[in-house]
Amino acid sequence: MTAMASGDVPRFARGVRFRFDEVRGRWVLLSPEHLSLPDEHAVAVLQLVDGERTVADIAEMLARRFEAPAGMILADVLAMLDGLRAQGRVAR
């Protein structure tokens, strides 16, 4: 399997749900036997995963929002999404 690329369109894998948990006051990523509590950077990325935007689109939006160098953001976003792809939480 090749790693996530900037032109890929990420989406949550089948059976994976990303939602805000009122009890904990934070975002959670749920699948049948796994639960993770993404940190704030990951949450910012995952909130933009909609099955339509490319990784490059997401990185560009975040670079604008945080006024950060686009290249650096893109590398971070790719690494994070590729990690979730390897775990089967994110597909493309």
Partner: protein, 360 residues
């Protein structure tokens, strides 16, 4: 935090490693639809995120779509753990519409005759294949579950291929856990070291063969280990089991432990049970541990292993888990593997709730 709801002990199959207790709850005592729905609301408010709807066969409950729908509205991630033999196309669509997030379908083998023999139900395998197709057609994400033991351990590659062909996104290969029915049938189920090594290699090969299309989770048998598993992630730490009649347990086998009185959700609020009940405190954390465990640097990794296993193999639920190489009872585990009969004896199958079966 997750909650396993054993909606009923009724089941048309009678797998010889069933996780239900030897004495099954009668249908008449099952929680009502309203009682389950209220419990799901309480669970969500307590911080439970994942709800596993199990049994017995949860589809034996006619109100299952209503339960799924209520749980989904409460914000719970809903996972249906089923044999699939009652899953028609209509019921799959109904469950999908109710908001079911995921379905875990059990298989006993890739060969129909062997699968039906192990599960104790003629025709079950064929119906499971149809169930998988119905689930996928309804858009429900699918995990295929295979409980492995010495009588199907050679079928892992075939089951993986079958699961992939059925459109499963995930395959769970889990070795039998030896409590209750599994313990009763241990001689018929326990693999030896060579069989285990072959199974582990087969899982690795299947992972490579299906990479990127199907995830494979593998739960190894701890009779072959020197360190215990972190059973339930620790007693009363992140898991609750509710029996069909509403008793709250820290694990599904906990009722085998004498001297513990488990509370009913009919009498007490779930939050009070979780927070205050003495049975939930009995083995919570590290204070209860024998000295060897409490001074061990793995105490917050394995939480002392499994209490039901300590009871079953060392005769004392508060003893070290005998799977641990530091336990003075570790030889009992070694002996169970070494003394395994060359040929598996016939299975002892469960029958309808209320009766304990022998023979078969």
């Amino acid at each position: 935090m997750s909650l396993l709801a054993e909606l009923t002990h009724r089941c048309p199959l009678s797998c010889p490693y069933c996780s239900n207790p030897l004495t099954l709850d009668a249908p008449a005592g099952e929680l009502s639809t309203a009682e389950w729905c209220d419990l799901f609301d309480q669970a969500a408010a307590l911080g439970v995120l994942q709800l596993h709807l199990s049994g017995g066969e949860p589809m034996a409950r006619r109100d299952l779509p209503a339960l799924v729908s209520h749980a989904a509205r409460a914000g719970l991630y809903t996972n249906l753990i089923t044999s699939g033999v009652h899953l028609t196309a209509d019921r799959a669509r109904e469950l999908a519409a109710a908001g079911l997030d995921h379905l875990q379908l059990s298989f006993q083998h890739a060969d129909a005759a062997e699968a039906d023999r192990i599960g104790g139900m003629r025709g079950a395998h064929g119906r499971k294949l149809e169930a998988a197709a119905h689930a996928r057609a309804a858009g429900i994400p699918l995990t295929v579950n295979l409980v492995v033991h010495r009588q199907n351990i050679g079928a892992i590659a075939a089951v993986a291929a079958m699961a992939a062909a059925l459109g499963a996104g995930r395959l769970e290969v889990a070795h039998v856990q030896y409590y209750g029915w599994g313990l009763l049938n241990r001689a018929s189920l326990l693999p030896d070291a060579a069989e285990l090594a072959a199974a582990t290699a087969a899982v690795e090969a299947a992972r490579a063969a299906h990479a990127g299309r199907m995830l494979i989770d593998y739960v190894t048998p701890d009779y072959h280990a020197d360190r215990p598993k972190p059973c339930m992630g620790g007693w009363g730490r992140r898991f609750l089991n509710i029996t069909p009649s509403g008793r709250a347990l820290p694990c599904h086998a906990a009722e085998t432990i004498p001297g513990l009185d488990f509370p009913s959700v009919r009498d007490q609020a779930l939050a009070a049970i979780w927070r205050d009940d003495p049975a939930f405190h009995r083995f919570r954390g590290t204070e209860w541990m024998p000295d060897t465990c409490r001074s061990c640097d793995r105490r917050e990794l394995d939480w002392g292993g499994c209490r039901c296993q300590a009871l079953a193999l060392a005769g004392d639920a508060a003893a070290m888990d005998p799977v641990c190489g530091r336990s003075d009872r570790h030889h009992v585990v070694r002996a169970a593997v070494a003394d395994r009969p060359g040929l598996p004896p016939p299975f002892r199958y469960r029958q309808a709730p209320g009766r304990v079966a022998a023979g078969g």
